[in-house]
Assembly symmetry: C2
Amino acid sequence: MFSPNAYADRRKALMSMMESDGIVVIFGNEYSPMNYEDNIYPFRQDSNFLYFAGINDAHHLMIIDLNEGNSKLFGNDRSLDHIVWMGEATSMAEKSTAINADAFADYQEGLNEIRSAAHRGIPIHYLPPYRHDRAIILADCLGKSVAEAQQGYSEELCKAVIRLRSIKSDAEIKEMEIAVNTTRDMHHAAMEALAAGQLEADTAGLVEGIAIRGQGRLAYPCIATVNGEILHNHHHHNLTQEGQLFLLDAGASSPSQYAGDITRTFPVSTKFTDFQKDIYQVVLDSQMAAIAKLRPGYRFLEAHLTSAKVIASGLKDLGLMKGNVDEAVAAGAHALFFPHGLGHMIGLDVHDMEDLNEDWVGYNDEVQRSDQFGLRSLRLGKELEAGHVLTVEPGLYFIPALIEGWAAEQKHAEFINYEAVKQHIDFGGIRIEDNIAITQNGYRILGDPIAKKIAEVEQLRQG
Amino acid sequence: MFSPNAYADRRKALMSMMESDGIVVIFGNEYSPMNYEDNIYPFRQDSNFLYFAGINDAHHLMIIDLNEGNSKLFGNDRSLDHIVWMGEATSMAEKSTAINADAFADYQEGLNEIRSAAHRGIPIHYLPPYRHDRAIILADCLGKSVAEAQQGYSEELCKAVIRLRSIKSDAEIKEMEIAVNTTRDMHHAAMEALAAGQLEADTAGLVEGIAIRGQGRLAYPCIATVNGEILHNHHHHNLTQEGQLFLLDAGASSPSQYAGDITRTFPVSTKFTDFQKDIYQVVLDSQMAAIAKLRPGYRFLEAHLTSAKVIASGLKDLGLMKGNVDEAVAAGAHALFFPHGLGHMIGLDVHDMEDLNEDWVGYNDEVQRSDQFGLRSLRLGKELEAGHVLTVEPGLYFIPALIEGWAAEQKHAEFINYEAVKQHIDFGGIRIEDNIAITQNGYRILGDPIAKKIAEVEQLRQG
């Protein structure tokens, strides 16, 4: 947790940004049922609640009164019965003090205040309810249908929260470095432990265990696979084989819930093959070229295109692409190999503030999202500011279904040597990803260095 | 997965049990959002859907037509776009064949069939929607409020499903042994790795990692703590200290989602203290005494009381309780130390079928749940049958808040030596738990033996 005043300052800043009157309601999360009500998933607090109200326990909410200029925390103290089963807990009085709230009361009173405000026609500003239990509670309090409650969130509030949360304080960046350093341990342990004949699940279990030991958890479901070309592959049932590549996209959350998000790709054998080295170096070059340009005022869209051009140029050198590189990238031909965006904001959420609308986070009136295949998946396009933290994660994949589909219609055939590409159709995929803070003059890669150059990776693979 | 006919046979049995007409709707689970819609918890399929429809993927449902006597599976095939991101998947045609369904169609058609049945006044039988997204979908299909949809489940269907799922087949018990044997690896690894000065999270991460390596996950949030007296303690932030006890209540699910649920308690030092040994032996004796009685026709309530009497008798020998043991247990005095139930059914759920109503699972007209403190937490009381699988998990705890509360009002003072008890108020807690199948003639402890006797535990602690 941060200092009590840090939370109070964030709420004050929010109040000053909101032009509307009325109340702002920030819901904390409830426990989430797995296979019956009381068998629950690991608790994950709502990120906006963590930002403004800090408390990392279920069943709380905060009401910020824009007219009165004060903040009230709602939640329940534990009964003796609860203490027997769950242990002693911090009291509501202590929680309220810890975040410098102006007052506190039982959870039910919070719901009553929302109901009363709705009844009196006072504007109620809330964020999009991405969990269904919250939508049901909101609908009940507002006297609306669930669908109306889901759609009735406040654009003004979302945009104000995005402005605040987009700029990370030094204290927040310190927390993010904790997350990245636990993530570093995960990746290095995986590189050291991998061997042919293991299950992908062996690596998945190894790294998730380390995240838990770090007193956080995984910030997102990990990708740990010999099929790196399947971009969101969450199955871990394959056996690793000599000669394959292993792609690990896994990040820990810090105990304070800030996310790390790192990808490394390494050989199942102790060394890369020559062709794997060639492709790896193209991806690494494209990442370094993009990172080198990062600074306040620079559009992240340009970083994406820089990365894409290095990839297209590298593939041309390898005989897999052809023609003019700038034209190929403008046409989107490189997206056969690099079909996703270069990166995204990261903070309390791995895709930071995605619940508040991805386009409001990553784009604005000047920089709008493209609808071109590949580029349309870029989550962040707008100008960078000091205090932004983001990922840079180019990748290069041989996706059989996509290659066969494009080849059949000879899509972008002036830029792609399909015959050469098909010879590598079972290559898999390589992605390299780091977490980067934008500073006053440039950038800083977060955390201690994680093995990334070919020689560094091969050294860890050889123990 | 089981054979296609196994699933068809279960559905046929269900149809023959249902006296009502109409349709039975079994919903599969959706992905569950963590901190925004697309950052999801590990997928856990609904256990009833797994039982009747076997498919372990999100966004499916099954409709069993009681009038026509057939079963239809609903779900969507993947588009090319989905294949690029998620990889190839089993087709709906293959899924339908794998579970011997009579037909299959898109998910939306399933919802349309429910809507159409609701519109025509055909009875629609469904199970309690413990997840909120399901309640919202049901409300929408049935044209009811969410609260009405939550309450409108079918008691007849719940009871029929309970009758079926309560009796485990040999094939199911084989799956449960896989879960228990992975769980055994978790507990033995924890006993070997524990040392003073570690975080509880080190053990939590170790065992969760092993569960994932087993291609399942944890069947429930693990308890890994030096504060074993906090019964549902899910925090892991304490540092272990010499002389403390460590309680590990953790179970893997098998890849097929059957649960293991094992508890062991071991010393942070390499050996138990004499007093720890005394208490440990009482718990172990009480577990063995209860297990020895298990057989078809025996009421599990009696096993609970058997266990309670061994505990009371043992505590009397140690000078912590006094008076007549049978009277003490009848009065509930032992519940100061053993405030929970002896065990519960286990299967696809760790508390099997808890979503279908605990009292319908564990009690009947002859054996009703007590309202006495301690005994009221017993989930299973009724007569056992061959094919039941259950846990036996007595425990003995020194819970400061409870001891101080009871001592202040001198509750059951004729049976409890409060002065002696208070000398051990920081003892912690011990629980020992195994998973047991009821056979034709008695019982069988599932899985390979897990270190349990004092000498066995100390041997593992000494490496």
